[in-house]
C-alpha cells in the first residue's frame, strides 16, 4: 500500500494540537491515520459529479434563537472540570515562552 501520510506530517499535526508523541506513538498513528485516509479514499471511487457540495445533511437553514439571557453556571459549577483555579480564573501552564 502506498503511503498516504508520512511521519513528518503526523508530527506536524501533533504539534498543531500541542501533543507530544513518542516514537512508538508516531509510528502507530502514522499507520492508523493512513488506514483511515485509505478508507476515505475509497469514497472517491463514487461518481459525485452530479452531487452538489454538501456540508450538512439536514435540509434546514436559519435556525435562530432570540437575543435572550439564560442562567449562566455558578462559579462552583463552572470550575467543576478545572484541574486548577485561582482567584476565579482557570489556571493553565503558561502559554507564552521561548
Amino acid at each position: 500500500m502506498k503511503k498516504i501520510i508520512d511521519r513528518e506530517q503526523v508530527r506536524y499535526i501533533a504539534h498543531l494540537a500541542r501533543l507530544e508523541l513518542s516514537e512508538e506513538e508516531e509510528k502507530k498513528f502514522t499507520r492508523q491515520l493512513g488506514e483511515i485516509l485509505a478508507w476515505v479514499d475509497k469514497l472517491k471511487e463514487l461518481d459525485t459529479s452530479e452531487v452538489p457540495l454538501t456540508s450538512h445533511a439536514l435540509p434546514l437553514t436559519n435556525v435562530f434563537r432570540e437575543d435572550e439571557l439564560k442562567r449562566s453556571l455558578s462559579e462552583k459549577e463552572a470550575f467543576l472540570n478545572a484541574p486548577q483555579k485561582k482567584r476565579s480564573h482557570f489556571q493553565v501552564p503558561k502559554v507564552i515562552g521561548d
Binding site: 437553514t61 435556525v63 434563537r65 462559579e75 485561582k86 482557570f90 503558561k94 507564552i96
Partner: protein, 483 residues
C-alpha cells in the same frame, strides 16, 4: 527612496446584544471573572451552539450601510487553533462564505473625497481573556496563565478593508469614520478601552507603481492614535530595510507604546494553519430579499452623507459639519434646534462652544440632557430679539443645561432681561453721571475714552443688563452730543 504604502485594516467590533452569539450568557462588561459562562461557551463536550438572530441582523445592517452585497447563502466555519483562550480549541467564524462582501467606506482626507473598498464583513465569536503569570507581581504565578471566559462567545463583527489605504493619517480617518457609521447604526458602542472595537493592520511598502510588497501584520494597538503611531513607525522600519536592499520578512509584529516601536511577536503563537472546515453544529444562513428589505429600514442617514448635507444645506464650515455629525445624537440635536431657530451658524457656535464644553464636563449622554433643542432655540431667539445680552445668555444657558428650565422662566425669575426701557435707563445714567463728574468733564473736553468708562459704570449698576447700544446713545445725548 519613495515608496507607496499599502495598508489594509481588519476591525473587530463587538455587537450590542444582551446575550452571547451562541448561548444565553450575558455580554455585560466588567462582571467578576468566569461568572458569565455555560457549557456552550466553555466548550464542554456534547453541547450545541445556537445562533443569536440579533447578531446576524446587526451584521446585515452594517453590511448594507457599507454598501456590501449580502450573501444569499453563507455559513459558519471552524478555525482550528490550540490556545487556552479558546476552550473548544477552535473558534466559530466564517471563512469562504461570509455574510457580506464588496462594500466601501467614504470619508474625506485633507479635503479630498476618499472611498476605501471593503472586502468582507463577517460574524464570529470572541475568545477569552488571558492574564499571563509573568505580568503579575507574584513569583509563584510566573509559570501559569489565568483565563477569564466571560468574553468567550461574545459576538464580533469583522470588517476587512482592501489594502488601499495609503498613509497612517488615512487609516486614522478610515477608523474615525467607520466608528461614526457603527455609532449611527447603534450596532456597537465602539469602546476601545473595553475592547469592543479592536483593529489589526496589514502594511507593506513597494516602489511606486510596483506590485504590493511583503506585508507585516501589526497588532496590539489600543487606540486610533496608537494605530497611527504604529503604522508610521512600521513605515520607517520597512523603508530603512528596503533602502539597504534587504527584504522585509513576512511576520506579525506588536506595537510597543512605551518604546514607540514595533517588535516581532514571539514565534510560538504564530503557527497559522487553521484547517478551516464548515461548522457541522450550525445550519447555514439564507438571507432572503425580504429579510434584507426589512433590515434596510433601520439604515439611517449615514454620517458622511449628513456631513456633506450640513455643508450644502446649512452652509456650515467643514469643521463645524464634521464636529456636529460626529454622533447621530449631536447631529439630531443641532437639526432640531435649527428647525426652531433658523440661523444654523449661530446654533453651531453655541453647540460647539458652551454646549459641548458642558457635555464633556458633566459627561452626560446627550439623550439625558434636560435642556431640549427647542429650549436652546428659544434662548437664542431671546438674544436675537435683544431681550437678553449675549454675555448673560451664557449664564442662562448654564442654568438651563443644569435644570432643564426654559429660558423665559430663568430670565424672568432672575431678572436677567436686558433693560431697553429709556426711562429706566435715564435714571441710572443720571446717577452715574453725577457720581462721575470728572469723567463727564473729560468727555466734554474730547476724551473719547471717558465714554467707555461711563458705559461700563452703567453696565455695572445694572449687572450687565442694560442694552449697551441704548446706553451709548443716551449718555451721548445727556452730554450734549447729537448723532
Amino acid at each position: 527612496m519613495n515608496y507607496q504604502t499599502s495598508i489594509g485594516l481588519e476591525v473587530h467590533v463587538q455587537l450590542l446584544t444582551r446575550s452571547k452569539l451562541f448561548c444565553g450568557c450575558s455580554t455585560q462588561f466588567g462582571s467578576s471573572p468566569n461568572s458569565q459562562t455555560c457549557p456552550v461557551c466553555l466548550g464542554l463536550p456534547g453541547v450545541l451552539p445556537s445562533i443569536n438572530k440579533k447578531a446576524v441582523e446587526r451584521t446585515i445592517l452594517t453590511a448594507l450601510a457599507l454598501g456590501c452585497k449580502v450573501s444569499p447563502f453563507s455559513r459558519f466555519a471552524r478555525k482550528n487553533y490550540y490556545y487556552p483562550d479558546l476552550p473548544k480549541n477552535f473558534q466559530i467564524s466564517q471563512y469562504d462564505e461570509p455574510l457580506a462582501k464588496d462594500g466601501y467606506l467614504e470619508f474625506e482626507l485633507d479635503g479630498k473625497h476618499r472611498r476605501v473598498r471593503i472586502q468582507r464583513v463577517h460574524l464570529e465569536e470572541d475568545a477569552g481573556k488571558i492574564i499571563h503569570g509573568e505580568d503579575i507581581q507574584n513569583p509563584e504565578d510566573k509559570d501559569s496563565s489565568f483565563i477569564d471566559y466571560n468574553r468567550t462567545g461574545i459576538p464580533l463583527m469583522e470588517i476587512v478593508s482592501y489594502p488601499e489605504i495609503h498613509s497612517p493619517e488615512e487609516a486614522y480617518q478610515y477608523l474615525v469614520n467607520l466608528k461614526r457609521v457603527l455609532g449611527y447604526l447603534e450596532v456597537s458602542d465602539c469602546n476601545m478601552e473595553e475592547g469592543s472595537l479592536r483593529c489589526d493592520a496589514n502594511i507593506s511598502l513597494a516602489p511606486k507603481g510596483a506590485r504590493l510588497g511583503v506585508k507585516t501584520e501589526l497588532k496590539n494597538m489600543n487606540s486610533f492614535k496608537e494605530i497611527r503611531e504604529g503604522l508610521s513607525s512600521e513605515i520607517e522600519r520597512q523603508a530603512a530595510l528596503l533602502d539597504k536592499g534587504e527584504k522585509v520578512p513576512q511576520e506579525t509584529r506588536l506595537w510597543d507604546p512605551h518604546e514607540q516601536a514595533t517588535i516581532p511577536m514571539r514565534g510560538k503563537e504564530e503557527a497559522h494553519d487553521y484547517r478551516y472546515f464548515p461548522e457541522p453544529d450550525l445550519l447555514p444562513l439564507k438571507v432572503s430579499q425580504e429579510w434584507i428589505r426589512s433590515v434596510k429600514e433601520a439604515v439611517v442617514e449615514l454620517p458622511f452623507h449628513r456631513y456633506q448635507r450640513f455643508i450644502s444645506q446649512y452652509h456650515l464650515p467643514v469643521y463645524d459639519a464634521s464636529v456636529l455629525t460626529d454622533s447621530r445624537e449631536l447631529a439630531d440635536y443641532f437639526e432640531e434646534c435649527v428647525r426652531n431657530f433658523l440661523h444654523p451658524k449661530v446654533v453651531s457656535n453655541w453647540i460647539m462652544g458652551e454646549f459641548l464644553r458642558l457635555v464633556k464636563k458633566e459627561t452626560e449622554s446627550l439623550r439625558k440632557i434636560k435642556m431640549k433643542p427647542f429650549m436652546l432655540a428659544h434662548l437664542l431667539e431671546e438674544v436675537q430679539k435683544g431681550v437678553i445680552s449675549g454675555k448673560l445668555a451664557k449664564e442662562v444657558f448654564q442654568k438651563m443645561f443644569k435644570s432643564g428650565r426654559p429660558a423665559e422662566e430663568i430670565i424672568r425669575q432672575e431678572k436677567l432681561g436686558q433693560i431697553s426701557n429709556e426711562k429706566e435707563l435715564e435714571e441710572i445714567i443720571q446717577r452715574v453721571m453725577m457720581q462721575n463728574s470728572k469723567a463727564v468733564d473729560d468727555f466734554k473736553k474730547g476724551k473719547d475714552k471717558a465714554l467707555i468708562f461711563l458705559v461700563g459704570q452703567v453696565m455695572r449698576e445694572t449687572k450687565g443688563r442694560a442694552n449697551p447700544d441704548l446706553v451709548n446713545r443716551l449718555l451721548k445725548e445727556k452730554m450734549g452730543v447729537r448723532e
